[in-house]
């Protein structure tokens, strides 16, 4: 049953938000049928060993470098290059989280996919392979969720002050790797900077982000996720949860950039672009499933949420409210001109994301379905942005006046 469940994951994820125009892009597992899609490092190596493919690949990359990409793509040579590449493993290649040469794989992916989509799509297809059952990170998350629920991460009504986030900090402090990595990012994010640094500059944000990324990459999610997703019953716990990523350095800034500008700068970096696409793919609220997560896959959503931490679009809890928490980015939609609707929709995917909320609450309250306080959203067919969840059509029925 598990394999089938996973199998469908592959296709639904592709189905749901894949926006590439041509057909075979959605052939799910790639043009090789059932084999897991080749990773983009391997695929481009193979392409480079094939004279026809490598020349077309080079042409297409040159097509994309040009300033006005749209007119470039209209030119015959670029078209021919696209044609060849559509029948090549490059076309369907994917990347694995934490793989060797992950960044190179992502760069290859985007160098191909930028050629296949004209202007920017609101939701881009994630370069990452959908999660497989044997993925260790996934397995460790399952154990994290189960251990979280068994180790009393739940606030059982024992009367004694219960602070799951404090328990998570304790568990981390008692684990050498977690303790060391946590201390590294806290020092990097909290360091007042060397004297040469401007005194008013609170910290070195870039260094802080890198240390945060390393923390979540190197520490087992069994220790790192409870720090982020502990279920709080009071503001003390919720404020500790908010402080986990040292927001004064990694999140807050003196001014709030425009959210579309933030998205643009994220999409100019292959790693950030990939992680944002992955978050959209795995956390996009859908009315098709009970939990409002694509394929009820909480893990995918949590993994992709954590994947954003330490990048330009680092998300965080906005305040210390414990029950009705909300998550956001550090940006605003002021100054969006005619794109305010799109900007609001982009921000809503963080602030009003029922899938993400359910996933976090499920993690905090343990994975037993019964426990999961579900935030329902209206069931409807898969759709692209924005999904309206709050307005309902009113129906009035009057007997017809027989003529």
């Amino acid at each position: 049953m598990f394999l089938l469940h996973t199998f469908t994951v592959l296709f639904v994820l592709d189905e749901l938000v894949h926006s590439v125009a041509s057909s075979s892009a959605l052939s799910g597992l790639g043009s090789h049928g059932w084999l897991a899609p080749m990773d983009c490092v391997r695929a481009s190596e193979m392409c480079n060993q094939n004279s026809q493919c490598s020349s077309r690949y080079r042409i297409m990359r040159q097509c994309l470098v040009g300033k006005d990409r749209t007119t470039m793509l209209a030119n015959r040579e670029c078209q021919a290059a696209l044609e060849v590449l559509q029948d090549n493993p490059l076309y369907d290649c994917r990347c694995k989280r934490g793989m060797k040469k992950e960044l190179q794989c992502l760069q290859n992916y985007w160098s191909i996919h930028m050629g296949l989509t004209e202007d920017e799509e609101f939701y881009e297809t994630s370069p990452y392979e959908p999660l497989h059952p044997d993925e260790t990170r996934r397995a460790s998350i399952i154990s994290a969720i189960d251990s979280a629920s068994t180790k009393g991460n739940l606030c059982l009504d024992t009367g004694s002050p219960c602070n799951p986030c404090l328990d998570a900090a304790k568990a981390c402090n008692l684990n050498d790797t977690c303790k060391r990595q946590r201390s590294m990012y806290i020092t990097a994010c909290h360091n007042k900077g060397s004297p040469i640094q401007q005194p008013q500059e609170p910290c070195n944000r870039k260094r802080c982000h890198k240390a945060l990324r390393q923390f979540f990459e190197r520490v087992q999610s069994e220790f790192s996720y409870p720090l982020l997703f502990c279920a709080c019953r009071d503001t003390a716990c919720a404020e500790r949860r908010r402080q986990t990523i040292v927001p004064s350095c990694s999140f807050d800034e003196k001014t709030r950039p425009n959210c579309l500008e933030l998205r643009r700068s994220c999409r100019s970096d292959p790693l950030c672009r990939s992680r944002l696409a992955d978050f959209h793919m795995n956390c996009q609220t859908t009315r098709l499933t009970k939990t409002t997560c694509p394929n009820d896959n909480y893990y995918g959503c949590l993994i992709s949420y954590v994947g954003l931490i330490g990048l330009d679009v680092t998300p965080n809890y906005v305040d210390a409210s414990h029950s009705n928490f909300s998550i956001s980015l550090w940006c605003s939609c002021r100054g969006s001109g005619n794109q305010e609707e799109e900007c609001d929709a982009f921000l809503r995917d963080f602030r009003e994301n029922t899938c993400l909320k359910n996933a976090i609450q499920a993690f905090g309250y343990g994975s037993e379905a019964g426990h999961i306080p579900m935030l329902e959203s209206q069931p409807s067919l898969p759709s692209l942005p924005p999904v309206r969840t709050n307005l309902q059509p009113a129906i009035i029925t009057k007997p017809s006046i027989s003529s």
């Binding site: 199998f7 799910g28 004297p195 500008e261 969006s336 609707e341 799109e342 759709s383 129906i395």
Partner: protein
């Protein structure tokens, strides 16, 4: 052309059995001029390799109506992404409009819109199983937008075309309902939502209404309501204007530093100014300094920033532009002139023609004299004071206000003919330029002199020299030594920092570096936990610890509490750059380390 799509994307779901010729959805383009006629085409990324489902759909070039070329069969569903097991598959189409007939529609033109059709692997439910809501309204929220000042016309097809063949005996009609009048209505014959007149965004940037769907099923009449809002897109149809003064009087005096900011003039614009994307031309004002004087052009720049505001523009987004005058270089202290500098603003993207705004900066630059006006200094120093004890401050006129003006201070002997012996007295006092402001700090520089009775009163001349132009000012300084010189106390005591002492008794008995009284001073904390008011032994509680490592304290380990860069052991909070900002219990420092710990730790004897 002024044509534009009133929706950023379209989506609809279709079933197996969708009949050939049946309508699927209608794409619209809003017109700018009456003469404009959009020509609609479906287009494909790579026309020679269009997906095989491309042939299933037809788009009417004139009406933008997409309809079925064939009836959808079961194996049609299987033919799309054969390896997918999903119960629905997404067919991605794109449509473009052109202002005239086109042979080969390329998707690479600017005006394309995405169309997502969800192909469901089932036949459509029979009429009695379809909810009225599904008959009336689309699954996905639709938020059309129209640009202000444009022609009226249809923007959205309200009918759920893919369901229209399912309940043939139903009569479905639409209407618009709103709390206050809205410029929208429904064309009863075509069920198209129309905008009835050009709208002005600066009056209202969103219209909320209810779409009323009336379904007559023979026995009953049902009314369904669906809230919809239409966004009004902005165009630059308002010129910038000044609300209040367009003139700012600027006086440049003590702040001569490059980057100094003066004045602030605001210019208003009822249009929005998008921050994103950065190079978006909409409503960006260009500014030009109107002056032929190259000196002014080199010396000043005008900084422009803008922010979006709503309240002051009648709850509709508008823009406030702010202009500040900034020094582009350090300004000489001799500069002394008054002039008016005009700054011309142009709104290049404003469609109403050439409307400019002129701002005026009345600039007065005052010279800054380097002088001591009617001031001479007299300081008394105890003979008990130790090396680096602070004596006092000297300051040319307004030195605390100086920014970008560098003044150094020296001491000179008044009477050069005094004996060599007497001249040696004058090494007793040193002077250094403060780091916090532009004053001079006097300190004890040689304690041997304090022994000598003849060095009773020392008359100095303080010479202040402005570093850029070497302008100088002088004044008198008299230092008088008092108290007895306690001979025995200098026998074997090496010069150590007061901070080494961790108890009141030891501290107040100790002659540490920088003590004006010859004795260290104890500060007792009354706080619990880590506090800025930690207990400590200081040479001079007036300035140590004060969170600032000043020019005298930096000379030696006079005030490690403010200056240490060494490891601090125990509960503490380090200063921003150095020093101990807060500490637990008592903080004390040796040459390599500082400690902050509970006061009652007994010195552990060796067991």
């Amino acid at each position: 052309s002024g044509l534009y799509f009133p929706q950023s994307d379209y989506s609809e779901s279709i079933y197996i059995g969708q009949p050939a010729g049946s309508p699927v959805l209608q794409v619209f383009a809003m017109r700018d001029k009456d003469s404009e006629r959009p020509h609609f085409y479906l287009c494909w990324q790579n026309p020679s390799r269009a997906p095989h489902y491309a042939s299933w759909f037809h788009m009417d070039e004139a009406t933008g109506m997409i309809s079925m070329n064939k009836t959808l069969e079961w194996d049609d569903f299987g033919s799309v992404y054969p390896s997918s097991m999903m119960s629905f598959k997404k067919l991605s189409l794109k449509a473009i409009f052109a202002i005239g007939p086109v042979q080969r529609a390329s998707c690479h033109l600017r005006n394309t819109v995405g169309i997502n059709l969800i192909f469901i692997n089932a036949t459509a439910p029979p009429c009695d199983e379809i909810t009225l809501e599904k008959l009336c309204f689309p699954d996905k929220e639709v938020t059309p937008h129209i640009t202000e000042n444009r022609m009226p016309g249809p923007l959205y097809q309200l009918r759920r075309l893919t369901r229209s063949h399912l309940c043939l005996n139903y009569t479905i009609s639409y209407g618009v309902d709103a709390d206050d009048p809205v410029p929208f209505e429904v064309n009863d014959t075509t069920s198209e939502l129309l905008v009835t007149r050009p709208v002005d965004r600066e009056e209202r940037e969103m219209y909320r209404m209810q779409i009323v769907c009336k379904v007559e099923t023979g026995e009953t009449i049902n009314k369904l309501f669906l809230p919809m809002h239409v966004n009004i897109y902005d165009e630059n149809d308002n010129p910038p204007y000044v609300n209040g003064t367009d003139t700012e009087d600027v006086v440049v005096e003590f702040n001569r530093m490059k980057g100094a900011v003066f004045g602030n003039l605001s210019v208003y614009d009822r249009d929005t100014t998008p921050i994103y994307p950065k190079d978006h031309p909409q409503n960006k004002l260009t500014g030009t300094m109107i002056t032929n004087d190259t000196w002014t052009k080199n010396m000043f720049i005008v900084d422009h920033s803008f922010r979006e505001e709503k309240a002051i523009f009648g709850n509709v987004r508008g823009t406030i532009h702010e202009y500040k005058l900034i020094l582009n270089k350090n300004l000489s202290i001799l500069e002394n002139r008054s002039f008016q500098m005009d700054y011309l603003l142009k709104d290049l993207s404003y469609e109403g023609g050439d409307v400019n705004v002129m701002l005026h900066f009345n600039i007065t630059i005052l010279p800054v004299p380097i002088r001591f006006t009617n001031v001479s200094y007299v300081f008394t120093v105890s003979r008990k004071s130790t090396m680096f004890s602070k004596i006092g401050r000297v300051c040319v006129d307004n030195c605390q206000k100086f920014q970008g003006i560098d003044v150094e201070y020296q001491l000179e002997i008044v009477d050069r003919n005094t004996s060599v012996d007497l001249q040696s007295c004058f090494s007793a006092v040193g002077i250094g330029r403060s780091l916090r402001d532009v004053s001079g700090m006097l300190y004890v520089n040689d304690t041997e002199v304090l022994r000598r009775a003849e060095c009773q009163e020392l008359q100095y001349v303080v010479v202040a020299t402005e570093q850029q132009l070497q302008l100088q000012a002088r004044t008198q300084l008299l230092v008088i030594f008092e108290d007895e010189y306690a001979q025995e106390e200098f026998v074997d005591q090496r010069m150590l920092s007061c901070a080494e002492k961790r108890k009141r008794g030891e501290c107040e008995a100790f002659r540490g570096l920088g003590t004006p009284t010859g004795r260290c001073q104890w500060r007792q904390s009354t706080d619990k936990g880590i506090s800025q008011n930690y207990s400590t032994c200081s040479p001079d509680l007036r300035t140590c610890p004060d969170g600032f490592c000043d020019v005298v304290e930096r000379k030696d380990t006079i005030c490690p509490q403010d200056c240490t860069r060494n490891t601090i052991i125990g509960g503490h909070e380090a200063g921003l750059m150095f020093g101990i900002k807060a500490g637990y219990g008592t903080c004390y420092c040796f040459s390599e380390k500082c400690f902050c710990e509970k006061d009652d730790i007994e010195e552990a004897m060796c067991d």
